[in-house]
Subunit: 336 residues, 2 copies
Amino acid sequence: MSTIKKVCQLAGVSTATVSRALKNPDMVNVKTRERIFKAIAEAGYRPNVLASSVKTGRSNSLVVLVPNLSNPFFLKIIQGIEQAAQESGYSVLLGDTQGDPAREHEYAGMVLSNRADGLIHLDHSFPFSKNDERLAENVAMVSVCERIVADKKYPVVELDNYSACRALANHLVSYGHQNFGVICGQKESQIYRDRLGGIKSVLTEEAIELDDSLVVGGEYSIEAGETGARELLANPNRPTAIFCFNDDIAIGAIHEIKKHGLRVPDDISVVGFDNIKVSGYIDPPLTTIDQPAYEMGRTAVEVVLQQIKNKTLLRDREILPFRLLERASSGQVATR
Amino acid sequence: MSTIKKVCQLAGVSTATVSRALKNPDMVNVKTRERIFKAIAEAGYRPNVLASSVKTGRSNSLVVLVPNLSNPFFLKIIQGIEQAAQESGYSVLLGDTQGDPAREHEYAGMVLSNRADGLIHLDHSFPFSKNDERLAENVAMVSVCERIVADKKYPVVELDNYSACRALANHLVSYGHQNFGVICGQKESQIYRDRLGGIKSVLTEEAIELDDSLVVGGEYSIEAGETGARELLANPNRPTAIFCFNDDIAIGAIHEIKKHGLRVPDDISVVGFDNIKVSGYIDPPLTTIDQPAYEMGRTAVEVVLQQIKNKTLLRDREILPFRLLERASSGQVATR
DNA sequence: CTGTTAGCGCCTTCAT
DNA sequence: ATGAAGGCGCTAACAG
């Protein structure tokens, strides 16, 4: 590994000039610049970014905390993050936390130890350990989809989950459904409250009751969809339509429903949430809410970079638009 | 951000002692150690990893180059990488290259600029630019699934694609199929040659010809599966069984086949490759090759860390086992 | 426009 | 067991 000094020797200049030739080329004479670049090529020199980071105090990277890398929806967000970060000269440190606080603390600590300049969190937990709480106060941090639960308010990039679920509920109600089931993800999150709130608000308007025993689940996975559907099918008060809190859950639910010899949507309608790629290709194609995951990722980067650059944030909530995608997994209520 | 100096003042010791207390605790007196840790807590001190990296020349991170973050199979590999890296104290820099050489060069350059100690590549291209070729000679690098095409041989973690495709072909032949279609991914890769070779070797043994016009595709995506299937269905010599070079392709193909009013597997059998999660939940569940993606990721980390630590590699090919998963998308050949 | 100088924050001999 | 001092590779005033 050749260092800046080797280049100096070859070009017969000082380290400062080499540094300048690289950062502010117009601050150095064309002739010397040429000489320097020739020397750089000859030496096979690459600046040591770590060394400059020590000087500048900027690592030019962002940590991204994901609770579950297997979720295609998160992946789409990460793609957006990665893209936007790269365009701004930042690199992305990936942290798969699996919802484990210890891992969150470890990854979040990267911002404290100068390995990263900012943090994007795809979950609602406060990612720093109790010990680091004080230090974390001035950290650039943004959450996507979920709101971070903490004393201080951190900015968030999200969807209007309440309205999106109202749209789904209205859609199903318009098909004559009266009896609903819900297979949700984690219950302790804002998302859960917003989504269930949205559904309930419509049902209340329609004077429809939501049976508490028909709200099942607790995890965003295909398996949770299977288990949840099984539970709902076994309920004496079997629903004619099921809200699934993401597409993976819906995929599992549909699979399970079919396994019981029932048809979707003829016997039971199923709707999902997210619009992951494959949801348009399963049988039947899934009615779902399209979340602009990629854009959400991009926006998160913008927000966190604004914080890093100390520009004041215009707003601490970025709410992106959703779209109801009516596909074939939802339809007229079955006449019993 | 407090630095080591603040800790020194508080503890009344020198920087050297603090540094030691952190790295080699037993080299320092218990009493002073305690004092130091108290000071650390009080100051809210976190060592600046970048600064130590400059000293040690180690960044303790790995770059991972992925051609396509949307592919769930790659994701599984990345999970394995992330996990194993973390366990060894390394962090993962994610580079979504989209197969673009310019991006590959940029990310690969991270190893040259000390931002990363090693490189894991999920593709077959030589990721460094022509300019960096010389510098890249001693870089720790490993490819997963694909073999890197270069003068120097780099280690690879892969599957015996040839045998896996033989297994698939034998499976389909045993059901009486004689007329095959193939929807492949990129054609310039070793994988393509190995997989097609495996299929052909079985067909040759069975004295079955593979019509060249029935080998279509060129990209690993759901859309490529749709297009490919459409092409194959339109072929006057319509196949009764289709090899898809990954599960996404198979998902697209099955969707398209159904759209044409045909049934899988009654009219046409379809087999995939990878065993992504959702492949067991589509209708019909997909017959496919299970690749131990997670393990592949873990192995890749082991290999690259061995290179970094300059231990000689035991072997430069790690071949992991596959499993043929016979599910419902393949069956008896249709009697016309 | 260029060189000198003084660090960035940490680690690591070398003494003591 | 501890401290002093020098340096990792680079940047950023400050002179000239």
